[in-house]
């Protein structure tokens, strides 16, 4: 059927990339610390990203617990304002409580955006899978990849330093003049945190640049652009945004740091500067970066749905071009973050452009659903995550439309509706796809199987917890609950409490997943090279892959989704039968 050499084709066996070197613990540490292997770098990124995800998640839980009850302020006998009867508060006095609340939601936002979701999929699964899917030995610039990892670590270090030093209370967006002039006690922290984001930007640029060149230059013989798995297309679109948008945040944060240190007056209205210019600069990066966050999630969803429904993906080219379309339109919509700070004409244009994003996005969603239609769907954890992704991301996408509409946005702007919307996209979309992808490729990465029923339980807990947490926030938002407030009027308490309970279920679900992964590393069953019957090239490699990925350079002879024509490698053909041949003239769909 295929001429792609498989690991068992010939005698000699290279060790897997996880085989520890001779020389004990220190040799292993040095090997990992100096490795230019994209797989090891991917694994190190995964560990870092998941650890920081836990920190950011715990900060979010603290925020949710603080919101269990509104802050009720009374005067004590000495005439000082104190809080009373609150279930949990972050400081003794109301002022302290509010300050720490601001810091915790900033920690949550900054960590989740800059350290988790933006680098999340490209640096972890992207690094690991891209060369494998292309049939290459490594990314185009392996040493640059290592540099990118250390830049990421340096950025993370700066962020952590800022947090240890009591944190930042500006929100993750660092809006001037709040970030440039306010609060002497957080003076250094804003500089540290923006420096962290500035440094992390370089890591992001270098990863994106590396991926673009890899995709252009290192596809294996026989692989044209339209023979690439859709995950690779998603990575390509993501990388373009990373390369073209990140420099703008670089200069913005640099100017903000100048502003903070020298008071140069570029963003400070007191000196003639314009704080809205900061917002334009900031969102010129940060809106395209929303698509850096979601496009990889879409790529993972395409893979999981096609593999576990065992059907050629519906509308391959449409999905591929939709990725590029989203990347392109994504550059033109930043103004919708500032509807309230722009003229009518500009707002209307940005509103119209924002609606355009919905078109390629919907193209993708319909194609995924069409792929599922009449597929032989495997009901396992990755598929469950793919369905969760579809459901949550659709809600997230659709609730974006009222926010893009000028009239409704005036009402919903800066409310919990916005919070719920972007959590449905960022968490319900990207993070869910990321965790689903981790399950999907876990056997490939670690060579171990995870426990299926635990994975499914975790996924269901996450699904329920997530919806309970964030669906209520749509109601809170439409009723007028503003975002980023430490307290609220009594009428909102029930909904806030439901949301908090949901966040606990969500957190517990995440720990179930973590436990499942850890258990699998220690005591998981050995994974076969191709547990799901996938056809893209990573399933031709060993599990875990050997040092140089493939024993021979692969030559591609079939597309990544030809499930109706090709038996998957390393599998018993009886497990994955091909469909009955159709009468002449008829076509599969």
């Amino acid at each position: 059927m295929t001429t792609i050499p498989t690991p068992h084709d010939h005698g000699h066996h290279e060790g897997s990339y996880l085989t520890p070197p001779k020389g004990g613990f220190f040799a292993a540490v040095i090997q990992w610390a100096t490795t230019v292997d994209h797989k090891k770098l991917g694994v190190m990124y995964t560990v870092a990203v998941l650890s920081l995800f836990m920190v950011g998640g715990l900060a979010a839980l603290l925020v949710r617990v603080e919101l269990w009850e509104p802050t009720r302020v009374v005067l004590n006998e000495a005439g000082e304002a104190v809080t009373t009867g609150q279930f949990f508060q972050l400081g003794k006095t109301p002022a302290e409580n509010y300050t720490w609340y601001n810091r915790f939601f900033t920690i949550h936002g900054a960590i989740m955006v800059f350290l988790v979701i933006v680098p999340g999929v490209p640096a972890t699964l992207g690094n690991f899978l891209l060369p494998l899917m292309l049939g290459a030995k490594d990314v185009a610039f392996p040493r640059l990849n290592l540099l990118s990892w250390y830049i990421y670590c340096t950025g993370a270090l700066f962020a952590i330093l800022s947090l240890i030093n009591t944190g930042v209370d500006t929100g993750w967006t660092f809006y001037a003049p709040y970030s440039s002039s306010h609060a002497a006690n957080t003076y250094n922290n804003v500089v540290l945190m923006t420096t962290a984001a500035f440094i992390l930007g370089f890591s992001s640029i270098l990863t994106g640049l590396n991926f673009i060149v890899t995709i252009h230059k290192l596809r294996c013989p026989g692989m044209g652009w339209f023979d690439m798995p859709l995950f690779v297309w998603a990575m390509y679109a993501t990388s373009i945004i990373q390369v073209l948008a990140t420099p703008v945040i670089g200069i913005t944060l640099l100017l903000l740091i100048f502003e903070r240190i020298f008071h140069v007056g570029i963003f400070d209205p007191a000196m003639g500067g314009d704080p809205v210019l900061f917002q334009h600069f900031f969102w010129f990066y940060s809106h395209p970066v929303v698509y850096v966050m979601i496009l990889p999630g879409m790529g993972i969803a395409s893979e999981m749905i096609a593999v576990h429904a065992r059907k050629p993906i519906f509308g391959y080219r449409a999905i591929a071009f939709a990725s590029l379309g989203i990347a392109g339109v994504g550059f033109l919509v930043w103004g919708h973050h500032m509807f309230t700070a722009m003229g009518e004409l500009a707002s209307t244009i940005f509103s119209a452009l924002t609606f355009f994003v919905a078109i390629p996005t919907a193209v993708k969603v319909f194609n995924w659903i069409a792929t599922l239609y009449k597929g032989s769907i495997a009901f396992n954890t990755p598929m469950l995550y793919a369905l969760t992704f579809l459901f949550l991301f659709s809600i997230g996408g659709l609730t974006g439309l009222p926010l893009a509409t000028l009239a409704t946005d005036m009402h919903l702007h800066d409310s919990y509706f916005v919070v719920a919307h972007f959590h449905y996209v960022m968490m319900g979309g990207t993070i869910i796809a990321f965790i689903g992808g981790l399950h999907h490729w876990w056997p490939k990465i670690t060579g171990k199987m995870y426990t299926e029923w635990v994975g499914m339980t975790g996924c269901i807990m996450v699904f329920i917890g997530f919806n309970v947490t964030f669906f209520t926030q749509f109601f809170l938002g439409t009723q007028g609950m503003p975002r980023r407030y430490a307290s609220y009027i009594d009428e909102f308490q029930t909904l806030h409490q439901i949301s908090t309970v949901g966040s606990m279920i969500l957190g517990a679900g995440m720990f179930v997943q973590l436990g499942n992964f850890l258990h699998s590393i220690v005591a998981g069953k050995k994974a076969p090279p191709n547990p799901w019957g996938g056809l893209s090239l990573e399933w031709y490699a060993d599990s875990p892959p050997s040092e140089h990925n493939f024993h021979h350079e692969p030559i591609l002879t079939h597309g990544p989704y030809d499930y109706e024509d090709v038996y998957p490698p390393h599998c018993d053909p009886a497990d994955f039968p091909l469909p009955e041949p159709l009468p002449a003239g008829a076509k599969h769909h």
Partner: protein, 225 residues
């Protein structure tokens, strides 16, 4: 990752260089490195694009302040520096051409001229522009202490000026360091020749970028009043 044939150490570096083992051949590697570097240059241009945007916006907002500030700049020093950069751009292109023709001597001479130009640019900028202005209190933002400001918002103009030219000057130094490293490798290994000159070519591209950005900064800051 580089594959160097160690059996023929007497050969010049460019002949010994093969290619990194994850590429199929040397041309693929050269193309990949060039593509990667062009992408990197695109990020540099976007970095400066932010500054140009800020310039445009504040120019529209405070035209008088910009006119007043710009009068303090001496067109002769700016013009001389433009000339210096144009010459250096020519010489760096010639040194790449010399590498392609295996003319090692002129490759180095051209590189040396380029590097000297780089330091000359920096020297002129520092000695005749930054230091005199700074000592007269013409500084960015709150540091501005010149009693004869032509306009209340003149410090914003100086913030833009120092920000843009300062970041550009940093790029001049980075470019000069890259070219110095090329010169060292050329002297030590004869690293660049007809079949292998990737690093030299990319450093040259970086140097052209530094030049191009100055070509835009010069009229915007010095010529328009």
């Amino acid at each position: 990752m580089t594959t160097i044939d160690t059996h023929s150490k007497r050969q010049p570096g460019w002949k010994r260089y093969a290619f990194a083992n994850h590429f199929r051949n040397a041309e693929d590697e050269f193309d990949a490195c060039k593509l990667g570097f062009w992408l990197f240059l695109a990020t540099e241009i976007l970095l400066f694009a932010g500054l140009f945007c800020a310039y445009a916006m504040y120019r529209v907002k405070f035209p008088e302040a910009f006119a007043a500030g710009s009068h303090h700049l001496d067109i002769r020093w700016g013009g001389l520096n433009t000339l210096v950069l144009l010459v250096s751009s020519f010489t760096v292109a010639m040194s790449i051409r010399c590498a392609q023709l295996d003319n090692q001597k002129w490759l180095r001479i051209n590189l040396v001229i380029t590097i000297l130009c780089a330091f000359m640019f920096f020297f002129i900028k520092l000695t005749f522009e930054y230091i005199p202005k700074w000592s007269h209190g013409i500084r960015p933002g709150v540091l501005y202490s010149n009693p004869f400001a032509g306009h209340p918002q003149e410090p914003v103009w100086w913030s833009v000026y120092y920000g843009a030219t300062g970041i550009h000057a940093l790029h001049v130094l980075i470019g000069a360091s890259l070219l110095l490293w090329c010169l060292y490798r050329s002297l030590r290994y004869k690293a660049y020749g007809p079949t292998h000159y990737t690093m030299l070519e990319n450093s040259g591209l970086y140097w052209h970028l530094v030049d191009v950005i100055w070509i835009f900064l010069f009229p915007l800051l010095y010529l328009i009043h």
